[in-house]
Amino acid sequence: MNCTRRNFLIGGSTTLFLSGYFPKISFAAMQKKNLIIISLRGGMDGLTAVPVIGDKRLKKLRKKLILEDVLNLNSDFGLHPKLEIFHKLWQKNQAAFVHATNIPYTGRSHFDGQNLMETGAHIPYKEKTGWLGRGLLASNIIGKGLAISLPMPLLLRGVPQNNNFFPSPDFVETKLIDQIYNEFKGEHNELIKSTLDTIRQRPLSMQIATDSDDRKKLALEAAKQLKDQSGPRVAVFDLDGFDTHAAQGGVDGAHADELEEVNKIVTILHENLGQAFDNTLILTLTEFGRTIKQNGGYGTEHGYGSAILMAGGLLKKSQVYTDWPGLKKKELFEGRDLNSTIDSRAVYNSAMSVCFNQDPEFLRKEVFWGDELPDLSQELFKI
C-alpha cells in the first residue's frame, strides 16, 4: 500500500485516539461519514413496507394483500416481516422510517418519476445531473462516489471522478493494462489514463469476477470500500422490480420478494461495515408509492406517497417520522393514493448536510434551487 500523507495522518490520529490522548469529539469530527442510497425502482409500496396498524379502511380495500405476522414498531405502525434487519436495528435506535413522503411528483409515470427522484427537479428530463452528484460537488467532495452499477447512475452525475463497481462475468487480467499504459500519451488521452490509474489502484478484492446479479458480493465489497477511511463516502445501489401490478401478495408476495432484497443488502452492509456503521446513513429512494386499493390482479397501481426506510448509526432514534394524512377517501391524493405530506427531498437534503458536514441551507440552495425544504436533521439525525 502506498503510504500517502493522507493515510499517514489518518493512521496517526487513530493511534492517538486509541492511546487515549485525543479528545473524542475531534476524532468523531474526523471520522468519515457514509451516505448510502438504495434506489427502489418501480414504485415501492410504503403501506406494505411499513403498514399502518388497525386501519379498517385499509383492510377493506386490500383484502388480499393484508399482512400477517407484522413486526411491531409502535402503536400505529408495523413493519413487513421480511424487513427483519430494520426491526433488529430499531431496537438499537439504528432504524427509522419517514412515512407519507415522496418527491413532489404526481404524474405516475415510472420514467418521469425515476428521472425526478434522481435529479430532484420538478420537470422530467430537464436536469442532467443528480441531487447526490450536485451535493458532493457543492461540498467539494470529489472522487468519493461509488456506484454499484455499470452505467453511472443519474443520481451521482454532476461531480467528476466517481468510481463504479459492477464486476464483469469473468476475471480480467489487469496486467493487460500495464502492457499498454505507457501508450496513452498526450493531453487527449489524459482522461482514459487517469481512469486506468483508478483501476490499477483498486484493491485485489475489487478485481473479482462474479455474476453481477449477486447482490451479496456487491454489497460486501461496497461495505469494505466504505469502511476504508480514504475510500468512497457515498454509495448508490439500484434495485428494481417494485412495480407489482399483479400477485403483490402479503407476507410472501412479489413485493415481499423485493423487500427481502433490501433487507439482504442492509444486513450485509451492517455486518461488514462494523464500527463504520455508526457513521453511516442508509436511505431508500423510490419514484412513488402505490394505490391503496388492490386491483383486479391483486396487485396495486402507481400511486403517490410512499415511505423512506432508514438505517445506520447516524440516526437520532428509532421512530416513524410522519405527518400522517389518513386513509379516508377525502384524505387520499385524488381519492386513491396515500398522500405525501413531507417532501422527501427535505430528508435527502438533511441527510447530505449531516454526512457531508454542510449547512443544510447552503445545500438546499446549491442542490435544490432554493426550494422550500425544511431542515429535518435535528429531528432525524445525530448532528
Binding site: L154, N164, V172, I180, T195, T198, I199, A254
Partner: protein
Amino acid sequence: MSLNFYRRVAFGLSPNEKPDKDPLNWAINQLDTIPDLLWPGTIPTEKDLRKKYGEWVYGDREVLRKKFKNDKHAYRKAKDELRIKTGERYFELNEHAIRHFQTKYSKQPVFERFWLFWGNHFAISEKDFLAEFSTGPYQREIIRPNMVKTFEEMVQSVTTSWCMIHHLDNSESFGPNSKKGMEWGETINENHARELLELHTVSPNAVYTQEDVIQLAYIMTGWAHKWDRKNLETGDIWFDQEMHQKGDKVVLGVKYKNDAKRELAKVIHDLATHPICIKFVSTKLCRHFITDEPTDEMINPVIAAWNKSNGSLIEIHKAVITQAYKYNEITHKFHPPEIWLMQLSRMFDLNIPLSFEKMNYTFKSKPNNRQRQLSWILREIGHSPYRAKQPNGWSDLEVDWVSPELLLRRFWFASIELPMLVKSGNRSHGFILSCLKNNFEDHKNMASLIDNFRFGTSDYDLGQKYGVICNLPGVLKI
C-alpha cells in the same frame, strides 16, 4: 490521409477491403441512396411487431394477472410461457443481429454511421416494451427511409410514429377544452412537446418558455394511438379531433390558427427550419464525427449546406463528412462501446452476429445462449442500443463513457469473449498483422506490443493479443 478516417466515418476496413485512392469521395458517394438491409434472416415489419407487442401486453395484463391473482409462482410461470409465445425475449436479439450484420457488411458503411446517429438523435429510451418489440423496426422503418429526405420530413415522420408517441406519452395528452378533455376532466401531458423542442429540434438555446411547451402540447393533442379492448395501446396512430385543443396557439412567437390536424405540420416546419435548430443539430453532427467540442469553424460549413439545400439530409451528411475529412488529422474522437464493437467486428471479421440460420426462432422455448450472445455482449460492455435510460439517448461525450468499470468491460470483452468469436481460419498471428496493417498507420508499433504471443493461437493467446490491441489509445479513440 490517415487510415483512421475509415473508422472516423465508418467501421474501419474489413480484411477484403483496401483503402481508397480518394477517401473523401469514397465516403461522400455512399450517401445518396438507402442501402438495402442485408440480413438474410427474418426482418419483421413494425406493424407485425406491434401486433406481437399487443398480444404480450394483453395476455399479461388482461388475462394472466386476473387468472393467477393468488399465486405468484403460477403467475410467473405463465408469464414466462407468454414471453416465449409472443417472442418477447427474441425480437430484440433479432434486431441487434440485423443492425450488426448491416454495419459489418454494408457497402455504404458511412451511411450506416448516420443511421446510428439519427436513431440516437430521435432516441427511444428504455420504456415499457419498446426495446423488446418496437425500437428496432422504428429505426428501420421511420429513421432509415427519411435519411435521403429533408430534416423536416424526418421530424414529421418521427413525431407521428407510434413508437415516439408511445415513448413520450402523447396518447395521454388531452386538450383541456377538447370534447374528451372536458368530459373526462383530462389535460395535457407535456412530455412529447418538451422533447420535440428540447431534444429533436430547437434545443434550450431557443430559450422557449413553459408557455411555449404548453402551447406546442396543445397543437399536438389528438395525435394518439387508436385504443380498443383487444389491441390496447398498440393501435395505429391517428388524429383524434375529440382530444384536440380548440383555438389558436402561439409557439416561439408564431401564431398557429385553429386548424385541427394541420397545425402540427406547420409548427414542425417552423421548428425544423429554425436557425437555432439548424445550428443545434449541425453541432451535434460535428460532435459525433469530429470532436466533443466542435468549433464554429467546423460547424459553419454544415449550416451553410443545410441552408443552401433547404435541409436536405444528403447534402448535410456530405458537408459533415467533408468537415470530418478536413479535421481528421488534428482532432480526436472517442468511440462509445457499440461502435467500437462494430469496428472490431468489421476489421477483424469476427463471428458476430450469429448466422441467420442459427438465429431462427420457433417460439417454443427461450432463445438459446448463442442467440442471446450479441445482445448480452452489448449489455455487458454497457451499450445496449435500445436501452438508453433517457429520451436524450446515449451520450456522445467521452467523459460519459470513461469510467473504471466501463473501461474494464472493454478489456473483458477483448481478452475473454473476443477469442471465441475469431473464425477458425483467422487464428494465425499473420492474420492479425494484416488487419492491423489495413487499418492503422502505426501497425508496426502495435504489432511489437503483442510480439511475445506471436506463436500462440489458443484462446488465451488470442485474448492476450486482442486484449492489448483493442484497448490501445488509437483504437478506443481516433
